[in-house]
């Protein structure tokens, strides 16, 4: 952490890293979560090659077929293979989680850095705006923004990203405030380094660990939010598959084809659970008290 004592960080950093890795690897839940997530990401990336059928191709001879050897997870109301749609849907859901959090961090972290580092009126203004945005529940805000932007996966990701942004701004600001008067920052200011350089070189790396934990947990919320928006018809539009939009259609066939609802729901649940497990594992590993 001490940027002005190169010898110390060189010795301390690897030790901290190995302690972090040791703690993280010792957390079975986090490891299982990470392994399943890696598997899901691979499935999403390899979708064109591993999906057994075209996810968009209707087959009116196999409408609402129950799970069988031919269709492992059954077919939907247009005879499309649910397994294939699930595999392709993983792309939308994981992409939505990642991109939304990237948007939230790209806007929220710089705002938090500015507010925390410079303080004063700028801090007051940014903090008030963030508080105003936080005063609207995450999902209500995402729905309102999603409605304004129009229904599509891209717009859902923007809406979710903007709704999650204040969390990162507030967290970053808080972290910056906690290290603002550390010796190494005072030293950097004393030798006349420009503020931009200090913020990017010394402040940002030191506030990053809690942000990484928050990002992992927010991906979980973003995946849930995307599924919710798609379920309401504000996310991925038909016929393109996403887990949320699959559930939106499935709710009309609860009696005739219950399998249409079960499989995408489990997929969302397992993915979100895994992100939460990894997030918890990262938090515990980074917590000096644990």
């Amino acid at each position: 952490m001490t940027a002005f004592a190169p010898a110390a960080p060189a010795a301390v950093q690897p030790r901290l890293r190995s302690r972090f890795l040791q703690k993280f690897m010792g957390n079975k839940g986090a490891l299982i979560g990470a392994a399943i997530l890696i598997l899901f990401i691979l499935i999403a990336l390899l979708a064109p090659w591993i999906a057994p059928a075209d996810p968009l191709k209707a087959n009116f001879l196999s409408v609402r077929k129950a799970p069988s050897a031919e269709f492992w997870f059954g077919t939907d109301e247009l005879g499309r293979d649910i397994l294939s749609r699930l595999i392709w849907g993983a792309r939308s859901s994981l992409l939505a989680g990642g991109v939304s959090v990237a948007i939230a961090m790209a806007i929220g972290v710089p705002l938090g850095l500015i507010a925390g580092y410079f303080g004063g009126k700028l801090d007051a203004l940014i903090s008030h705006v963030m508080e105003a945005l936080l005063s609207c529940p995450f999902l209500v805000l995402a729905i309102a923004l999603g409605a304004f932007l129009g229904p599509s996966l891209t717009n859902a990701m923007i809406a979710i990203g903007l709704s999650a942004m204040p969390i990162f701004a507030r967290l970053t600001r808080g972290q910056v405030l906690s290290i603002r008067h550390e010796d190494y920052l005072e030293g950097a200011r004393a030798i006349g380094l420009p503020d931009r350089w200090i913020v990017l070189r010394y402040v940002l790396p030191n506030v990053l660990p809690p942000l990484v934990v928050q990002a992992t947990l927010t991906i979980a919320s973003a995946i849930l939010a995307e599924a919710s928006l798609s379920f309401l018809g504000l996310g991925q539009q038909p016929p393109a598959p996403s887990w949320g939009s699959m559930l939106n259609t499935a709710k009309n066939f609860l009696e005739q084809a219950p399998w249409m609802s079960i499989v995408p729901g489990i997929a969302i649940y397992v993915t979100v659970l895994c992100f939460n497990l990894v997030g918890d594992g990262l938090r515990d590993a980074l917590d000096p008290k644990s």
Partner: protein, 315 residues
């Protein structure tokens, strides 16, 4: 304490002004022209102009905002473009439904979350603790609209014990009202139960490590008395604060639950308004939810001060 409440109320004013500005701007940026939709298929220019004048849509934006904000302060949130009813009246008619659902869901969350959190903390590191943690994390991770669908399939479609959807007001039939809200309240409450359980466990672990709990144990008090009288009472502070804030989250979570169970509450109203482009309703609902959230935050702060003797004395 009164000074503290007044100071907190004053500090909430800039936030509320920003919220109102945000809500107003959002409405202006929504796609589609509500006047064209209201003017009918012919879209007679005279009618369009009349409607624009009537709703002050020809005024400059700041004037439009001020006139809207002035109305909002007096409880006039405009008229629903679809039903032509006052928005505040619509909100007042739907709000009790959502509040009832939220209170029941909070009850579910408290009944599951707090005992599980206490047991998990007492039995830290055991299979019971791990099991409770997995259940709590599952509650947080499960999409509540999907859980709603699954429960409808089991309890309404298969077993036919409870209605799949709809709502009966309490004044009409208390028992049927409870029947219609049982599944939605459970669905909405489980997610919060997970969060509450984790917070209770964390707070209890912190307190169980403290000296006064060790002393109480050393005095030979019954383990249950130590846990409930000495540990839990002191762990209550963060739990009460969290519960207050979670109530605000419930209003957001109700959006999907009400949609799945076709409950005519606040949440369903906002979704319907979004799809019907009923902008004034969207605006009114978002504003009310935000005000509710700000007030709940204030309540959490006040409760925290009331419960914590150190803060109370400092005030």
């Amino acid at each position: 304490m009164l000074t503290f409440i007044l100071r907190r109320l004053l500090s909430a004013i800039p936030t509320l002004i920003l919220v109102s500005l945000f809500v107003f701007t959002l409405q202006k940026l929504l796609p589609g022209d509500p006047v064209l939709a209201m003017a009918g298929e012919e879209r007679d220019p005279a009618v369009v102009n009349y409607l624009r004048e009537k709703y002050h849509l020809n005024d400059p934006m700041p004037i439009q905002y001020l006139s809207w904000a002035k109305g909002a302060l007096t409880g006039d949130l405009g008229m629903s473009l679809r039903t032509e009813q006052p928005v505040s009246q619509l909100i007042l008619s739907k709000l009790p439904v959502t509040i009832e659902l939220a209170v029941l869901a909070l009850l579910v969350a408290l009944l599951i979350g707090i005992p599980t959190g206490i047991v998990s903390a007492i039995r830290k590191g055991t299979a019971l603790d791990y099991g409770a943690n997995v259940v709590a994390l599952s509650g947080i991770s499960i999409p509540n609209f999907w859980l709603g669908i699954v429960l409808i399939m089991i309890f309404a479609v298969k077993l036919q014990w409870l209605p799949a959807s709809g709502f009966v007001p309490f004044s009409e039939s208390p028992s049927r009202n409870l029947q219609t809200l049982l599944l939605p309240a459970f669905v909405l409450g489980t997610g919060l139960a997970g969060t509450l359980m984790r917070h209770t466990r964390g707070a209890m672990l912190e307190v169980l490590r403290s000296d006064y709990v060790r002393t109480a144990r050393a005095k030979g008090l019954f383990p249950m008395a130590v846990v409930l009288k000495h540990a839990f009472r002191n762990a209550l502070m963060p739990i009460v604060t969290m519960t207050t804030l979670l109530f605000g989250e419930l209003l957001g979570g109700a959006v999907l639950t009400e949609q799945v169970f076709s409950i005519p509450g606040f949440g369903k109203m906002i979704v319907d308004a979004v799809f019907n482009r009923d902008y004034s309703v969207v605006q009114g609902v978002v504003l009310c939810v935000a005000i509710g959230f700000v007030l709940l935050n204030l309540l959490a702060d006040v409760l925290y001060r009331l419960i914590n003797p150190r803060l109370r004395n400092a005030a």
